[in-house]
């Protein structure tokens, strides 16, 4: 139960900057997700908090205590890796007892502690089994259990679900989040999967090239992304982007995207923030209405390229201006390759980004 504060943290490996002047505060009892592509610096960030790497610059505080010079083994931080790092030929009990044995805990206390933790994770019945005979989800729980017995103040998790199959991942997502609630511990969770970050995080940060892009609750990142990177990272299918340029016509401001224009006069104030007339129009697939016939509010006509039925719904890939946009088809909509249909962008749900800076201007 501890607050984690990072101040102006920087780390380079052989001349390559991996973490760049990063400042972040993670609240106690928070489930905090760090989202980024492979190579964004997620693992390095966790290792800096754990004390497994030493930063070049900046400070790490655990509960307002500066721990820059505190060794990893004394930071009271547990790290769980993607490959779990369990001893496959040992039993669950032996694996979980290991960190306590190293600390020379008396036998009875050790036994009680392991049993108590195993109970809280519903793996009591597995204590005598060898790791090699467990399912992926069970192994996951043992790895968490091994961290828990030490009663650490912060849990750092590095893509702990990526090796599990899709079904189990979905189940473990729920279980991990519940566990964190019940333990009331601070969890810092790194993942490349936007679904995991959005569904599990109380708050989340997006990381790109060692820099934080946006830190907030998932809803805000989804609905009000600060820049094009964040907008494109969250959501599946991802937001559609189209390049356009602003021009004036009869006192109106139009965004010219090529085959169609959008009136953006009402964003007059916001447009002053743009560094030039070149903008990126963004719209999420769920905010595009697809119709057979062109209507009065239609944005443009498009050609159906690919139809992707997902079962409950259908994603249409539509050709417009040499590019493709994605939209959800309305229920019962039939479409095939080559069909001409119309789309209508919800005028209240469009996003505008400055092409040069990639910052959101709405």
């Amino acid at each position: 139960m501890v607050k984690v504060t990072l101040q102006n943290l920087s780390k380079t490996f052989g001349g390559k900057t991996v973490i760049r002047d990063l400042t972040l505060e993670i609240n106690e009892q928070e489930f905090f997700c760090i989202l980024g592509y492979p190579g964004a610096g997620k693992t390095t960030l966790l290792r800096l908090i754990a004390g497994l790497e030493k930063q070049d610059k900046g400070d790490v505080y655990l509960d307002n205590k500066l721990v820059n010079n505190v060794h990893a083994s004394h930071r009271d931080v547990a790290m769980i890796f993607q490959n779990l790092a369990l001893y496959p030929n040992r039993t669950v009990f032996e694996n979980m007892a290991f960190p306590l044995k190293v600390r020379k805990m008396p036998r009875t206390e050790l036994r009680n502690r392991v049993q108590e933790v195993a109970k809280s994770l519903s793996i009591e019945h597995l204590l005598d089994r060898a790791i090699a005979n467990l399912s992926g989800g069970e192994k996951q729980r043992v790895a968490i259990g091994r961290a828990l017995v030490r009663r650490p103040q912060v849990f750092l998790m590095d893509e702990p679900l990526s090796n599990l199959d899709a079904l189990l991942r979905l189940e473990m997502r729920v279980e991990l989040k519940r566990l964190q609630r019940e333990l009331g511990q601070t969890f810092i969770y790194a993942t490349p999967d936007q679904l995991e970050a959005m569904s599990m995080g109380d708050r989340m940060a997006t990381l790109s090239e060692g820099q934080l892009q946006q830190v907030d609750v998932p809803e805000v990142l989804y609905n009000k992304p600060k820049n094009q990177f964040v907008a494109g990272l969250l959501g599946s299918p991802a937001m559609n982007f189209m390049e356009g340029s602003c021009r004036q016509s009869d006192g109106r401001t139009l965004l010219d995207v090529g085959s169609f224009q959008i009136d953006i006069t009402r964003f007059h104030k916001a447009l002053e923030r743009a560094t030039g007339p070149e903008l990126i129009l963004g719209i999420r697939p769920e905010h595009i209405k697809v119709t057979r016939q062109r209507g009065p509010n239609s944005t443009c006509e498009v050609v159906v390229y690919v139809v992707e039925p997902l079962g409950g719904e259908m994603i249409l890939h539509l050709g417009v201006d040499g590019g493709l946009i994605k939209a959800f088809a309305p229920p019962g909509f039939e479409a095939k390759y080559g069909d001409h249909v119309s789309v209508e962008f919800d005028p209240n749900r469009i996003y505008l980004f400055d092409k040069k800076t990639e910052e959101a201007i709405l």
Binding site: V174, R181, M200, E219, E308, G311, G312, L324
Partner: protein, 362 residues
């Protein structure tokens, strides 16, 4: 024409990897072999390719019995998960390879390479060595290398599983578009239900070497033949709850202990087809409605176990009896853990499964 498999069987010692599989793939059709690892899908593909000999049964490609033909005489193109591209050769030479060993004239080779490279958007890397390419480019080269010999039948074994989620989505669409434009016959092996659903004209769902169902994605999704198919397709998975069949006052019910559902309309079908009174009620998460009040007779009381906002949707997990139920709510749905809720099923979407046989009765 196309591919025709009759009573195909493959035994490895005592293990029966593929059990009497019969399947027809029409010319120009995209068919996926879908199933968990070990279901026999790759073994089937390898027999079609000629890399494995069947224990019994026949394989016809374009109406020719190919059982005894070596792979190179089968008019097939093969793409694997691990590319099998020559790293030390340029992209151009990789593409030319198959044509050269077929002694295609030089000007014909150049013409085809140009076509294929343009199509797969690798024209700008033709002179680069394959070893230096990005993963998606490498996969395009692998596809191009097979495509260039104009195979009658294109066989792909999990070709996208090494790519990250975003790239996989892009390649999925491009592969599908290419197949449509070339009217190429494709057999595609995958364990990813989303890939199979979105790309295929028909899906062959396999489990333990046996074909479970062979039909269009929409039929497989909406009318699964058995519990395996129902569970394997769709994400989050279908909800299942054990029930027993009960009759009272001329009416029929599914009794789940914590609730009972009137199924009088299916009385006759269930009586005629079910092998015992043990049944399973199955319903997809998107067909479960969440309510704040018990506003209908059949509302079932529960409490929120977990809420997972994932942008356009929210996954809500709630206990029903001793099982966890998942429901898909709108993107804006918010609830706290422990909130009291009621759920109801979209009646036409309820499936009833015979517990003993696993067959879907309704």
């Amino acid at each position: 024409m196309g591919l025709h498999i009759e009573n195909l069987r493959k035994e490895f010692g005592k293990l029966v990897a593929v059990k009497d599989l019969s399947l027809k793939v029409e010319t120009g059709e995209f068919v996926s072999l879908l199933g968990p690892s070990g279901c026999g899908k790759s073994t089937t593909l390898n027999m079609i390719a000629g890399l494995l000999y069947p224990t019994s049964g026949s394989i016809f490609i374009d109406d020719v019995l190919v059982n005894e033909l070596p792979p190179r005489d089968r008019k097939i193109g093969l793409v694997f998960q691990n590319y099998a591209v020559f790293n030390h050769m340029t992209v151009h030479d990789n593409l030319a390879f198959g044509l050269k060993i077929r002694k295609t004239p030089k000007n014909e080779i150049d013409k085809r390479i140009k076509e294929v490279a343009e199509f797969l958007r690798i024209g700008d890397v033709l002179d680069k060595r394959a070893g230096g390419l990005r993963l998606d480019q490498l996969q395009r080269v692998a596809i191009g290398r097979s495509m260039i010999v104009k195979p009658s039948l294109f066989l792909l074994d999990e070709p996208l599983s090494n790519l990250d989620a975003a790239l996989r989505a892009v390649m999925r669409v491009e592969l599908k578009k290419m197949q449509k434009e070339l009217k190429q016959t494709v057999v595609y092996v995958t364990h990813d239900q989303l890939e199979a659903m979105t790309m295929s004209e028909r899906i062959a769902v396999m489990n333990k070497g046996e074909l479970q169902q062979y039909d269009t994605p929409s039929v497989i999704y909406n009318h699964p033949k058995n519990q395996f198919v129902a569970n394997f397709i769709g994400s989050p998975s279908m909800n299942f709850i054990d029930c027993s069949f009960a009759e009272k006052d001329g009416k029929a019910f599914l009794d789940a202990g914590v609730f009972s559902l009137d199924i009088t309309e299916f009385h006759e079908i269930v009586k005629a087809q079910a092998t015992s009174s043990e049944l399973i009620l199955a319903i997809r998460p998107e067909d479960v409605k969440i309510m704040n009040q018990p506003s209908m007779d059949e509302a079932i009381e529960t409490s929120v176990y977990m809420v997972e906002p994932i942008g356009v949707k929210t996954i809500v997990t709630m206990p029903i009896g001793n099982r966890m139920f998942k429901a898909l709510a709108a993107g804006g749905f918010r609830a706290a853990i422990g909130d009291r809720k009621w759920i109801a099923f979209q009646r036409p979407k309820v499936h009833i499964i015979d517990k003993k046989t696993g067959s879907v009765v309704v």
